[in-house]
């Protein structure tokens, strides 16, 4: 796959600000445009990641942001794929650039979130599995996170202290990130003293919902050269894979998995296949990765991602964590940004924020959380209903 250049990145700090999501997106977009050193009027394509919580302006996020930045006649699209929305929007922009439809694109997502559990749309909708899981089972998102945590304990001997250590590690990273929401170092004891939400997971291990915005400006390699950018951070791979039937691992929002009664499960499960695809597209293997940004919706899920991304063998995530390898300064730092544990999730912005962090890291601009000499980084995440999301960036 041909590469595109990341010319600039920008974010609005994560928090619970209570303002219009457009403010965050515009802030992030202006920062990314300034970082890129391009004129807004030179951006030929605006790729918006949709928020479903902010009414119609959120559904047409691309044009909402474009108008707030000043309509220029640029082409526009809006993408929704739950947590994978940002990677989807980036992929749409890449397609426009590589097809020659534009040279420079802005990818932007932002959200304003309510307090508490994310819940389905209102109304009685028994033909919607997302409604059924809440109504009939009371299966919130943390319930699914906890099912995976408990399974990990049974299969691989993970302990609640391991899960807490993930949160503690990410908080030590996030305290150095001015865009993170929680500027506090938490200890394993702090986690253990927080209330259980869904056994074995505690409040400090469950991702909060946040307001925030993130944006990247991407361009053709040719355009980057004409700008005088000779060694940009490049997008070397994007993976948006669906699962392959039969997917026998229960995940939200479903009441049941596929059945393996008539077809054997694929060699790679869904989450493994997300990373496998991005590595294949980039022609880069997991052993060449210097750092990773993974979706720690819960502390325990971060351990699963180590294995799904091939950073260690199955069953080895706990020892990788305990060795310090995934802390900054270790062999393969994970969530140097602080991850969702330090940010909370702003759904349409989050996958873009992962790209922002890797761009800062690969260009040596990550300040006190800098991973020394980082040349290759990978993001991974997963959108509700089967949207894979992974981006591989390299210098």
């Amino acid at each position: 796959m041909d590469e595109i250049a990341v010319l600039g990145v920008g974010m609005h700090p994560w928090g619970k600000w209570g303002r219009n999501f457009v403010d965050y997106g515009v802030h992030a977009a202006r920062e990314a445009i300034a970082d890129a050193g391009v004129d807004w009027r030179a951006v030929g394509f605006v790729s918006g990641a949709i928020t479903v919580r902010c009414g119609y302006p959120g559904y047409v996020a691309g044009s909402t942001f474009a108008r707030a930045l000043g309509f220029t006649g640029a082409q526009v699209a809006s993408s929704y794929a739950a947590c994978a929305s940002g990677a989807t929007a980036l992929s749409v922009a890449r397609g426009q650039i590589l097809s020659g439809a534009c040279e420079v694109a802005l990818v932007v997502g932002a959200d304003t979130t309510p307090k508490g559990f994310l819940a389905p749309n209102e109304g009685r909708r028994p033909d919607d599995t997302d409604w059924l899981r809440f109504h009939l089972v009371g299966a919130t998102n943390p319930v699914y996170f906890a099912l995976h945590a408990r399974r990990r304990m049974a299969l691989h001997g993970a302990t609640p202290d391991d899960f807490a250590a993930v949160k503690a590690k990410n908080s030590r990273h996030g305290v150095h990130n001015p865009n993170a929401r929680f500027a506090k170092v938490f200890s394993v004891e702090d986690v253990a003293n927080s209330p259980v939400v869904s056994d074995p997971l505690r409040l400090l291990e469950i991702c909060a919902t946040s307001d925030g915005g993130a944006a990247v400006v991407v361009a053709s390699m040719d355009y980057a050269r004409r700008l005088g950018v000779t060694d940009p951070v490049r997008v070397a791979g994007i993976s948006l894979v669906t699962p392959t039937y039969p997917d026998t691992i229960i995940d939200l929002p479903y009441l049941a998995t596929d059945s393996a009664a008539a077809a054997e499960p694929p060699d790679l499960g869904f989450k493994e296949s997300i990373g496998a695809r991005v590595y294949e597209e980039a022609g880069i293997g997991p052993d060449e990765v210097d750092l990773a940004e993974v979706y720690d919706l819960s502390s325990a899920l971060e351990l699963d991602w180590y294995e799904h991304l091939g950073l260690c063998e199955v069953g080895e995530a706990e020892s990788l964590l305990r060795s310090g390898a995934t802390s900054i300064g270790g062999r393969i730092p994970v969530n140097a940004s602080g991850g969702l544990g330090a940010f909370g999730e702003a759904v349409p912005a989050q996958a873009i924020a992962q790209v922002c962090e890797l761009t800062w890291q690969l260009s040596g601009r990550a300040g006190k959380r800098q991973v020394e000499g980082a040349r290759v980084g990978v993001t991974v995440n997963q959108g509700l209903f089967g949207h894979g999301s992974s981006v591989l960036l390299r210098r």
Binding site: P126, A256, A260
Partner: protein, 154 residues
């Protein structure tokens, strides 16, 4: 609760997902051209190797093994119907042997997470999800087989 209370009509909280028989069964689908199963019948994923044939209604196995379990210590948001005072709902994902699929469900309220283990055998029962003046709205629940609740998993 009192002896004089009129008997409420027991109805499924959502139609078409389980039988009201004793013992009850989940109502699943079976792809006519491959034999794979799904649940709920009309919300399953298709087998890409299948030609898009019928999905036949079938009763799923009512026993399986716990794949994993947890609870919801805080009251879930609507459309979950809270009965006050809220007691944490225990949830299990259960692997059905014949169907080779995992099905989520509440666990019978006599059982808590302390009583459960991955790999434990469970069976399907019906339990009350919520009530109004005239009705008890039922859902399916998983209940451990051959073990007593309240003693903690050994």
């Amino acid at each position: 609760m009192s002896d004089s209370a009129p008997t409420k009509t027991r109805v499924p909280a959502v139609e078409g997902l389980f039988t009201m028989d004793d013992p009850p069964h989940l109502i699943g689908g079976r792809l006519s051209d491959t034999g794979g199963y799904c649940f709920p019948k009309d919300l399953g994923g298709a087998d890409p190797a299948a030609s898009g044939g019928d999905v036949d209604e079938v009763l799923l196995s009512r026993t399986g093994l716990i794949w994993s379990f947890t609870n919801s210590v805080y009251p879930p948001p609507q459309p979950f119907m809270i009965t006050e005072p809220y007691e944490p709902v225990t949830v299990a994902a259960v692997e059905l042997d014949e169907e080779r699929m995992v099905v989520l469900g509440q666990v019978h309220p006599d059982w808590s997470v302390a009583d459960l283990e991955v790999g434990m055998a469970v069976e399907l029962v019906l339990g009350t999800l919520y009530e109004d003046d005239d009705h008890e709205y039922l859902t399916w629940q998983w209940r451990p087989v051959g073990a007593e609740p309240g003693k903690g998993a050994s």
